[in-house]
Symmetry: C2
Subunit: 189 residues, 2 copies
């Protein structure tokens, strides 16, 4: 084969999940189920907050007859890995050149700042151009604090983010980079 390695790798990654249109949320959920089943980490998706308006009873069971989806003030996933608190959100963008900040609510940005302040591990998993990146919370906040742009350029994500790999059995290898941003390597040495 004459293709350079880089192209080959991109190609394999692309067919492995991105272009097959697998839903990012499903990929993350499958990954977390794998991590739970192998006793590696406990990461759960928080239920979507719902405002219940009307409840009735059917055969002694509560049935919700009117409710609406509320917007979350935290991120979608949180849990426990090696004793530490982890929280993240997974965002897909159709744009090929940047990640629009409108994808993250104002109170979620405030929450990310809070998690950093309290020594938690917080990040975004951003899928752009069919590739998933882990963007560490401090790098995300740093962009917001130092730019007036309403979207994060792809180049920034490539420079500061960690490109994730997907495996059919193990899912997305995001914990590999949590080990790095959480400083576990330093602790072990």
């Amino acid at each position: 084969m004459n293709y350079p390695n880089k192209i080959n790798r991109e190609y394999h990654k692309t067919i492995s999940y991105a272009n097959r249109g697998m839903d990012l949320e499903n990929i993350i959920n499958d990954t977390n189920e794998y991590l739970l089943s192998k006793d590696i980490a406990l990461i759960y998706k928080k239920p979507t907050p719902i405002g219940v308006v009307k409840v009735n009873y059917e055969n002694n069971k509560q049935i919700i007859e009117k409710a609406y989806f509320a917007s979350p003030s935290t991120l979608d996933y949180n849990g426990l890995y090696k004793g530490k608190y982890i929280e993240f959100d997974a965002k897909n963008t159709e744009s090929k050149t940047s990640f629009p900040l409108s994808n993250v609510h104002e109170h979620q940005i405030k929450h990310i700042r809070n998690v950093i302040k309290h020594d938690g591990i917080v990040f975004l998993i951003i899928r752009i151009n069919g590739i998933c990146y882990l963007l560490n919370g401090p790098d995300f906040i740093s962009f917001i604090d130092n730019n007036t742009r309403k979207s994060i350029p792809y180049d920034y994500i490539k420079e500061f983010g960690y490109e994730l790999e997907y495996n059919y059995t193990k899912g997305l290898n995001y914990l590999k980079y949590v080990d790095i941003i959480g400083g576990y390597k330093n602790e072990e040495n």
Copy 2:
């Protein structure tokens, strides 16, 4: 005053929250709001999981027209305190002599074991006879593993649990005992 200190303290505690019938969930929520506002800890109640059956659109907004409450497989509250993962549930019991284990689902017990295994801090806040106790996860699991009883006697809770105090402004002082069970004192020394 001729009352011994102990009785006086109990009396104050009792009128302060228990006998006024304040809902335990509200007390915990107020406490967590206080902790958030003072930048002490980030603890949130997870939304109740809901199975959505039917959704319709009204004025371009999604309205849930049929749904049901699902039972949670984790505990109600989790969050971040001093970099560590914390998870707990608050349980009220009407029984004066014991805490019925039927209050905790089988998959929640499994989850508590998991959190312990992964070095998280996990506990129950149990209100019995109008007094709130923090019962550390390992003490809760130890009872289950070493007894065939379907309820935890009040005496066990008094012996192994930490009696909590309530303050109108600060709420329940459960973090005081998280500092102890989480071993922060040792780290600081």
